[in-house]
Amino acid sequence: MNINHTFQTLKLAVVSVMTISTLLVVAEVDAKKPFNAVEKEDQMNMLMAAVKKGDDLWHNPGLGSNGLACGNCHPDGSATNPHTWPKYQTNLGKVGTLREMINWCIAVPMVGKPLALDSEDMVAMEAYVMYTHRGVAIAPAKDEQHGAVPVVSGPGYPNADAGNR
């Protein structure tokens, strides 16, 4: 082993140590502690409050003027296919968003006044629809009607006989 080679090896080692320590420092600066259980619960509670608000609005005929609510045609948010948006929608005549489609339904079949797209009410309705379709794979423009997540009914269920479940 000649001196030159030893020097080169040493230089490489120093550079490597420096690089690793730099990375460690950067990592330490960028890292964010995971949310703790209390924070996570708070966040979920806030989301659920929005979902609940969305559920109430979804079943509120007050958004329209002819007695209809979103829930008349879309129980549990069904047939909204949130996993397929944005997409080209014939009634909108363009590539639009789920929120724009909600507004179209308020304006046309329900004969009501569309909401501001970034309003708290609109976000709540979107939260409700997304939550009832949790776990459904995102599929832009997929031509299918996907059901909401199945929900077990209230007291008295299950009825033991004759099910296809």
Partner: protein, 338 residues
């Protein structure tokens, strides 16, 4: 000796009958074959063929010139235009939306334009504002039966729930408001109840097993999707009481869609509304080939329609869904055997 209730009796018989009842969903069992097979079929009482029509679920609002008024009127005009003219019309409930007398009066006025007699049962939307008072005042009994050309036709109120409002101190309007939601979290499952079961037992007691039976309820007589009350709690008891008959045709409203099922000797068909269509719930259909297409929300008549049911001499039935827009796949367009 302690009197055994129907449910207890059924509970006992289910222990030996579970496999049969489940299998009955998809394949004929020994018992159901008696109703469907060739030998038993040949012995089914001959009847004079006839046609009847069915309308349902108009969900009329107490708002002048509401769009649903015109759609019900269109259904009535469609039925009136049928040739040959149906012998009678059945209406499977939910004439009104919020149980108001004004909605029911408006509906009756439109239905009274039918050229043939009609029989009607209540749906939950007709009922829970005043517990059916206005409805009974206009239409009479909530359950009934009559004979026609050798067949026996039954209508029953299948939307009776347990009292969820007294303890919660709800006003009649609040009670109705909750029932108006299809996915009501707090309303519970509905059924026909003991009194109507007693009535049904008496009603069919003297009929011979070869009598063709047609039964109409608002909700399906099978467990479809209880979450949306696409069920009737005491359907097993009803099926038990009708088990002696060779063949039973069941039709039901409430689901606002094309759907079919066959359990033992009962074939049942769901009906289109004249208000709005409902998507299929997130369960597999027992007969996935009998369904409607997706609807266009921009076409207010898509997913809606009336129905004509032909009943042949040997009690072979066929339901024709008369969709107001292009809704049906070819196989359903040709008619569904009942």
């Amino acid at each position: 000796m302690k009197k055994i209730s129907r449910r207890e009796f059924l509970g006992v018989s289910l222990k030996t009958g579970v496999a049969t009842m489940f299998a009955g969903m998809f394949a004929p069992t020994a018992t159901s074959m008696m109703g469907l097979g060739g030998i038993a079929h040949a012995s089914t009482k001959k009847l004079s063929p006839f046609t009847f029509a069915v309308l349902t679920d108009a969900h009329l609002y107490d708002i002048p010139d509401h769009k649903f008024d015109a759609i019900l009127a269109k259904g009535v005009a469609d039925v009136n235009s049928l040739k040959p003219q149906p012998d009678f019309v059945l209406y499977a409930g939910d004439l009104g939306q919020s149980g108001k007398e004004a909605e029911l009066i408006k509906g009756k006025k439109i239905l009274d334009k039918l050229k043939m007699p009609y029989k009607i049962i209540p749906g939950e939307h007709d009922y829970y504002l005043d517990m059916g008072k206005a409805w009974r005042g206009l239409f009479g009994d909530e359950h009934w039966s009559f004979d026609h050309n050798g067949s026996h036709i039954i209508g029953m109120n299948s939307i009776l729930v347990e009292d969820f409002w007294s303890m919660a101190n709800l006003t009649p309007k609040e009670r109705m408001g909750r029932m108006e939601e299809l996915e009501c979290h707090r309303c519970g499952l509905w059924g026909v109840g003991e009194k109507q079961l007693d009535w049904l037992e008496k009603d069919v007691k003297k009929l011979s097993p070869d009598t063709p039976i047609i039964i109409m309820t608002h909700s399906p007589l099978w467990d479809y999707y209880p979450r949306w009350n696409f069920q009737t709690l005491d359907a097993p008891e009803i099926r038990m009481l009708l088990r002696k008959f060779e063949k039973v045709m069941a039709i039901h409203g409430h689901v606002h869609q094309v759907v079919y099922n066959s359990i033992g000797n009962i074939s049942s068909a769901g009906l289109l509304s004249t208000s709005w269509p409902w998507p299929y719930p997130p369960v597999e259909l027992p007969y996935p080939n009998i369904k409607m297409n997706r609807v266009d929300p921009g076409d207010f008549e898509d997913g809606l329609g009336s129905h004509k049911i032909d009943v042949a001499t040997s009690f072979d039935g066929e339901i024709n869904y008369r969709a107001f827009s292009d809704l049906l796949p070819e196989n359903v367009k040709r008619g569904v055997k009942l």
